[in-house]
């Protein structure tokens, strides 16, 4: 069997018609395929195609910081999960009782706000909302640190470069339980703000978001991820 591939040139078509499937099925090829020059050339071409498919995307790497983002979304989804039916009744009753007790207690005790991290982007006369910014804009971080004795604000650019790290020293400013700092977004990229909270001194940094987040979690500290800011 032959078919035309280019005008005036033909090749044996048995390899494509039979052997490609036989090879995928792991079955042996008959004598013809080891003696027909066209089929031998075809076989080489298909082997090369398989190799190219195997190495396709070898340079592709998931973006740094992706594991931290998976954990963030896992936590968010777990927080939103529906409770079992019986909990829908038991829980509100319990919560209402606890809230009443807490209200009585809070009348006499000053409130401790839960830890959190807010951001703002300032650009001269205009303030852009959301997480889009331009080079030169100022990223402002305001964190509520609760009663954690060791706290730190960090900002990573493109998940691999630490562009802000401070605790009680400038550019951080502490007022009671509030820790704030600002950093100029001086280049395009993705900026990831973080608040770290720990009972013990925080571990050293490697300037890589994934590595540092793992190290912090391993040490038993807490991480609050702020919204990621994209500078275009």
């Amino acid at each position: 069997m032959t078919h035309a591939i280019t005008p005036g040139k033909t090749r044996c078509g048995r390899f494509e018609a039979e052997a490609v499937l036989l090879l995928e099925q792991g079955r042996p090829l008959d004598e013809h395929f080891s003696s027909c020059p066209d089929c031998l050339a075809e076989r080489t071409a298909y082997e090369r195609l398989r190799e190219e498919l195997h190495s396709l995307g070898e340079e592709d790497e998931p973006p740094a910081g992706w594991q931290a983002r998976v954990w963030e979304k896992v936590d968010r989804r777990q927080g939103r999960r529906w409770a079992p039916w019986w909990r829908r009744w038991i829980l509100p009753i319990g919560v209402a009782g606890a809230a009443a007790l807490a209200a009585l207690f809070l009348v006499r005790t000053p409130a401790t706000a839960p830890p959190g991290l807010r951001i703002g982007i300032e650009a001269g006369e205009t303030v852009r909302r959301g997480t889009e910014a331009q080079p030169g804009d100022l990223l402002q971080l305001t964190a509520t640190t609760g009663d954690a004795p060791h706290t730190e604000l960090r900002v990573y650019r493109n998940d691999t470069e630490l562009v802000l790290r401070c605790s009680t020293e400038p550019p951080c400013t502490r007022r009671g339980e509030e820790l704030s700092a600002s950093v100029v977004l001086d280049g395009v990229g993705r900026y990831q703000p973080l608040l770290l909270l720990s009972e013990d001194p925080l571990p050293d940094v490697a300037s890589d978001l994934d590595t540092d987040t793992n190290a912090v979690l391993t040490s038993g500290a807490g991480v609050e991820l702020g919204p990621r800011v994209v500078v275009r």
């Binding site: 099925q25 498919l53 396709l56 790497e61 931290a68 998976v70 830890p115 500290a221």
Partner: protein, 201 residues
């Protein structure tokens, strides 16, 4: 605001020699978080590469890649151990990629195709060989996208990821012989597509 405080996410610094066993051991201890950490470290890159080639777009690949591991975490406690965790993960990733392909198909039917965003310039394009290699890869990527999503998934799982046909059959819930025929039919199409682009293998 979200908290990432989970002691069970701790992992030893050394690379785990047998991630399947380590993840299953963590599950046996009831520690799904540690199991997910092991899976992310062991299979994060290969699952991303598969997603990237399936959807042909960095942002969508990132989204589906993360979604794969989030869904894996939600299903880990019920993992039936009928396949390896790696095969199971690829099954989740494939479903998400096919869902996306369906949505994209519906959108195109209703609103027409969107203009593709221009490709960013390649960094370090000074080496000719690297450029040639890159353009071959791009051509092959483009040819893969002429295949239907199901066929593309089978070709990638077979050749890019090196899964056996029984493994692919398990995760796609199809018959291995049907998959073999599908892939065998796709290879000549890919070859001809490359030839048309002047990139014969």
């Amino acid at each position: 605001m979200l908290s990432l405080v989970h002691d069970s996410r701790e992992l030893p610094a050394a690379v785990l020699p047998d991630p399947e066993r380590a993840a299953l051991a963590a599950l046996d201890r009831g520690n799904a978080e540690e199991a997910l950490s092991v899976l992310m470290r062991a299979y994060g890159t290969i699952v991303y590469r598969y997603c990237r080639q399936m959807v042909g777009n960095d942002d969508l690949a990132e989204e589906i890649h993360q979604m794969t591991f989030i869904q894996a975490f939600e299903g880990l406690r019920k993992f039936a151990r009928r396949s390896s965790l790696r095969t199971w993960l690829f099954g989740i990733a494939r479903h998400r990629c096919l869902d996306l392909a369906k949505m994209s198909h519906r959108r195109k039917r209703r609103f027409g195709p969107l203009d593709d965003a221009p490709e960013p310039p390649e960094p370090g394009t000074s080496v000719e060989e690297r450029l040639a290699e890159r353009s071959r890869s791009r051509a092959l990527e483009a040819c893969l996208h002429t295949l239907s999503p199901r066929v593309r998934a089978a070709v990638l799982l077979r050749f890019q990821q090196g899964l056996s046909y029984p493994e692919i059959a398990r995760l796609t819930e199809e018959k291995a012989p049907a998959l073999q025929v599908r892939v065998a039919r796709a290879l000549p199409l890919l070859r001809r597509c490359l030839e048309e682009k002047g990139m014969a293998p």
